[in-house]
Amino acid sequence: MSDWVYSDIVKKHFMEPQNILDDKEDFQADGKGTVGNVKCGDEMMFAIKVDKEKNILTDCRWKTYGCASAIASTSILSEAVKGMTLDEAFNVSPKDIAQKLGGLPEHKIHCSVLGDKALRAAINDYYTKNNMLSKVKKDKAKIICQCMNVTDHEIEDAVLEGVRSMIELQEHTKLGTVCGQCKEQANELMNTYIKKHFA
């Protein structure tokens, strides 16, 4: 808890989160996505309005059952994506958000990923509803460990949750604990994700 040395921007967004969905307002969402679940301690809903001709995200709202980092990072994300094309918005990475927030403690990064995931779910929902199925960017998960059925996404999630070594990765996902053939590939992937999110 002593890590509450967040930047002033985090504090500002935590105190006054922007674009929260007020149940009384009539926000006509063109796309909506919910990720996470309360059992794991956090859940996020993101709703977007889209200019259908220009494919631009014009407005958005969100709600969360989450911690301070999830609240602050989603607030800043919701400000940042307004006016972006859907492609641009889809490709905003948790790293960009953490940078805008003036940095987050490393073990808090996983909390800030939630808003980002919910936004992507909302964009995909918009595509689905508007018969643009070819645009839906499925998170094509690739199975890395055949024995324990562990995907590249699970490896990425493990890295975001703080995994930094093969031993930790195996404890976390159980990958490579049967035949062990995937260990080299898993290790490479883990390092790629560490670079992607934390370099």
Binding site: K11, D23, T34, V38, G41, Y65
Partner: protein, 391 residues
């Protein structure tokens, strides 16, 4: 306004303790030295030991000074592993295994896990929704003839106080030794090791307005013992290392002040706790008071707020100057909710949304009113942005 309601985590020094410690700072002699400087320090330590022993109705040579409550607990678990070994002189009639509970402090849970890895059988007692242990399960498990049973008197998170007399009688009838982590109990409720028939008891100074870094372990005369920290004759050879003279003096003064203030304070805090509970229940729907409705520490109030996450509540309260704690640790990256609340059968959502208010000797009605007002405001704000609280 600054309001400190995290007294179960630690307490400020009592002004009298501070005075006593400042006075004692000039004294630097090693209590093991034979010269005047050493004898002066030795005298202070032994006077302190007497004060502390009397407070829990122990004999002076049954008190060992240690560095913390955690060290006291670790010592007992470590020696149980040792005395289960056939070769050790501290043999417990070759009994093996430990029974403890699912709501103990992490230092007990982690010690248990470590012993389990070393081959010891550890059983964890279940608790009911109020945090009371399952007596039937205890009775059943005692048939396995364990060496030790360890049950905390009062829980640090929810405040539930166990039925110690029943538990200890069962344990002794079954021939096992009994240890209790009394860190949250000593100095708040009456603890008498003789009347209660306790074999080992751990407690610490900083939860009762004494200094940090000092605690004590009561070891009943005649029970097997094996030191955790070796290499010195201090504390009858039971805990090596030059004594923390200053800390021990502070601890004794804190205990002395407890003797004077405990009874009055209990009455005052029970009222304030009731006031806080009533205020929150009146202002907010869908909240749950955790812990036993009667057998609960008068200074601990654990509340689950439906639909909101504990860490967010804690940090909003912090921004208003209010210090509390939560069982939901998002900071660790693991998002594990409180093991205590989960053991009581709370849903993950309620376990994640729990806040512990722990009151202390300086807590005032004005402060509690401020806390009720701010908490209400914050919960309403968080519920408005919650995905799971739809009203």
């Amino acid at each position: 306004m600054k309001v400190y309601l995290d007294h179960n985590a630690t307490t400020p020094l009592h002004p009298e303790v501070k005075k006593e410690m400042i006075k004692a700072m000039e004294m630097f002699g090693n209590p093991s030295s034979m010269h005047d400087f050493g004898r002066e320090a030795r005298q202070s330590i032994e006077n302190s030991r007497k004060t502390i022993a009397e407070f829990i109705n122990a004999a002076t040579d049954e008190i060992i000074f240690v560095g913390s409550g955690s060290e006291a607990n670790n010592t007992v678990f470590n020696l149980t592993a040792c005395c289960s070994s056939l070769e050790c002189s501290a043999s417990c009639n070759h009994r093996k295994g430990i029974i403890t509970t699912s709501i103990e402090h992490p230092c007990i849970i982690e010690s248990s896990k470590c012993l389990a890895e070393r081959g010891m059988k550890i059983n964890y007692l279940k608790v009911d929704k109020y945090g009371k242990i399952d007596i039937e399960q205890l009775t059943e498990l005692l048939k396995e003839k364990p060496a030790l049973v360890s049950v905390m008197i009062a829980n640090n998170e929810i405040g539930t106080i166990q039925d110690m007399d029943t538990i200890i009688k069962l344990v002794h009838d079954a021939g096992a030794l009994f240890h209790t982590d009394a860190v949250q109990a000593v100095g708040k409720i009456l603890v008498d090791v003789k009347a209660m028939n306790i074999d080992f008891l751990s407690f610490s100074a900083h939860k009762i307005y004494g200094p940090k870094g000092v605690g004590a372990l009561y070891v009943r005369k005649g029970v097997p013992f094996c030191p955790f920290i070796r290499g010195g004759h201090q504390e009858q050879g039971r805990r090596a290392g030059t004594e923390n003279t200053l800390g021990i003096i502070g601890m004794a003064k804190a205990i002395e002040m407890r003797k004077l203030e405990m009874a009055e304070e209990a009455k005052k805090l029970a009222k304030l706790r009731a006031h806080l509970k009533k205020g929150l229940l009146e202002n907010l729907a869908d909240i749950q008071i955790n812990g036993h409705p009667e057998d609960c520490l008068y200074s601990t109030l654990n509340v689950s707020f439906n639909g909101v996450e504990g860490e967010a509540i804690l940090l909003y309260l912090d921004l208003e100057g209010i210090a509390v704690s939560t069982g939901s640790a998002c900071s660790s990256g693991s998002l594990d909710p409180s093991h205590v609340l989960l053991a009581t059968g709370a849903t993950p959502e309620l376990a994640h949304g729990s806040i512990r208010f722990s009151l202390g000797r300086d807590t005032s009605k004005q402060e509690i009113d401020y806390v009720i007002e701010k908490t209400t405001k914050i919960i309403n704000k968080l519920r408005k942005m919650s995905t799971v609280y739809i009203k």
